[in-house]
Symmetry: none
Subunit: 205 residues, 4 copies
């Protein structure tokens, strides 16, 4: 019986959470339905569930907006345009590069290693691209924060290994949403960054 | 000088690839250019780069369709609806479960472990969800193919570990595109599967 | 037969060890018995078992307290309360967050990623929660000690990766015992910490 | 001084080893020298260095071929040709694929994921290519030997994970030496294999 009570409180808590989701999404059309009385008395239960009673009223909580997000993702056509431009820049700089492109989910979309490029840069290029997508910012920005004494010290140990020096850049759609990222490795970080920039620039017209 | 020549051929090959991308995307406005003789006769150049000489000129190649894909992704509101329905089903079955939801990119979106559920099922639930999104099919379908003698024997060793028995299901949008997946672990595979189904069903109306 | 003798010595050694454990635990109710001459002179048995022979007889040793520990663990109901409060705080701050809760064993209990939150923060939020429970202190406290030259330099490399900057907090029961932890990632470490605090505060009434 | 002696014996042992290597290579131009009495009686030196004393004098031993191996490696130009042909075949089959090319060292050279291809096949395509180069044979051949009861049972667990079902093929130069490999994943193993074959065929003229 106490077990059944626990289930009940968990269900109540879930309803509260669902309500909070809706609060986050003000455009939800179903928000009015939330005034059902049952959820109204749902307490924010603590270890003594009854102690939180009345803290949150279900009536105020709307139903969750169970609709998908409309997103964009990088296409292989775009990835190739970025690769080609980055490649061209590498040639101008006279240094062979590893160049990786990941998609909006951080998964590898396309990759090339130019003849003679460092073997160790395969993984670094891919990690730079993934890192840039992980935090939607240039990898070098993360490196500024992850130094000893900095606020993100040793963040590189997360996510199976991040790279926090320059050479990774997010790729954005025209509406500003991040649809992927490019990572370049094979030379100085300045050159890596310049090549990544060339790749990104080719997609902005 | 020979180095410069190599670069040139590589650039040519890239342009060919870019053209092929366009072929793949029939809605591309530049696809008509594909019938240009240059790209048509493009040989699959071998280790003697000169064999590809003149086969494809950048001028003849169409520009790649450098536009993003329009996609959908599961929202947290949807994830909660799926979790709540799976939870309810778990209660009906009387077995505590681990329930995970991943997004379109295979990344964790939401997770709950019911009180008393197996610790070993945390990872399994997450892996089931990820596996279902990895191949856009129920995890149990993969298990049928990965048995000794089967066509996908030991596929479980890929992707940092897959789970190929029932309990993972893709989550689709109304247009059929996969926007995420749910993975359930904590009981028999039949129960795990039933709970996952309840989660998916709650999003199909 | 020699095998049986070995078992016997192992049993004796185990009893001695149990006695030593008791000596180490001053709050043990059986500690008064420790003044018995037999156990007082009990040597720390070494690799020559015979040297411990007769020094301690099981009868003279205080019985090891072979009873389970009475512990508390976070419930899923509590986890949801913490998640909901953290979520509410995230909305006030206007930044999408990854929020993870682990139990007393450091194992994932519940997790949500708000729409648009950084992908790289999934792992960081979970690692922050686990780190806070690993050492029963705020993650930022560990970061103060893990800097170059500090006493815990590079402790982040242990435990499959720790995160030692702010955003992870232990969750305690009313008696002060740690029953889990919360980890938040998705913004500045100040915001992450504030959201984690909101989650913890919701469970303290 | 004893240290210097050790170095001397190590040098002697190395020369003996070099001689043995030459014995194993019948095409070696120095093989005629092998009939020298000294090397003929050369013992396989063991842990008692003195047993090899005087058995072989550097003068009598054939000189070790201390020159680099002349090898060939896949160029990025070739990788693109293989990718383009595999891509074309994928389109004919109507199934989006992940296609990876590794070099003679088994390191990633180029990769593409066609729009809509399975996320789980990124890793599998790369692993297929690496597996094919690891053993210079089609991945499917390894799968025949790795079944329960077979001579290579569970070989998939080595090398950070191999894939032993069809879809990976070695790429050879015109002299038959393996210069890389291609791996394809995204459909049935038959389709994966056919696409890999198209990639390889494009480099054989």
């Amino acid at each position: 019986m106490s077990k059944r009570l626990n289930w009940k409180w968990l269900a109540v808590a879930l309803v509260i959470l669902a309500g909070l989701v809706t609060l986050q999404n003000p455009s939800s059309p179903v928000i009015a339905d939330e005034s059902a009385p049952g959820s109204k008395s749902a307490p924010a239960s603590t270890s003594t569930p009854s102690s939180a009673g009345g803290a949150s009223t279900p009536a105020a909580s709307p139903a969750p907006p169970a609709v998908p997000l409309h997103t964009m993702d990088i296409s292989l056509g775009q990835a190739h345009v970025a690769l080609a431009a980055a490649w061209e820049k590498s040639k101008q700089l006279g240094t062979p590069m590893n160049i990786a492109v990941v998609d909006a989910g951080g998964n590898l979309k396309a990759f090339i290693r130019m003849d003679g490029a460092w073997l160790g840069s395969i993984d670094i290029a891919i990690k730079k691209a993934r890192t840039a997508r992980c935090f939607d910012m240039p990898t070098g920005e993360i490196g500024k924060l992850s130094q000893p004494g900095g606020p993100l010290y040793n963040i590189e140990l997360s996510n199976d290994g991040l790279i926090s020096f320059p050479g990774g850049l997010p790729i954005k759609a025209s509406d500003g949403s991040v649809i992927g990222a490019i990572g370049v490795s094979g030379s100085t970080v300045e050159n890596d960054h310049a090549v990544a920039q060339a790749g990104v620039a080719a997609l902005i017209k």
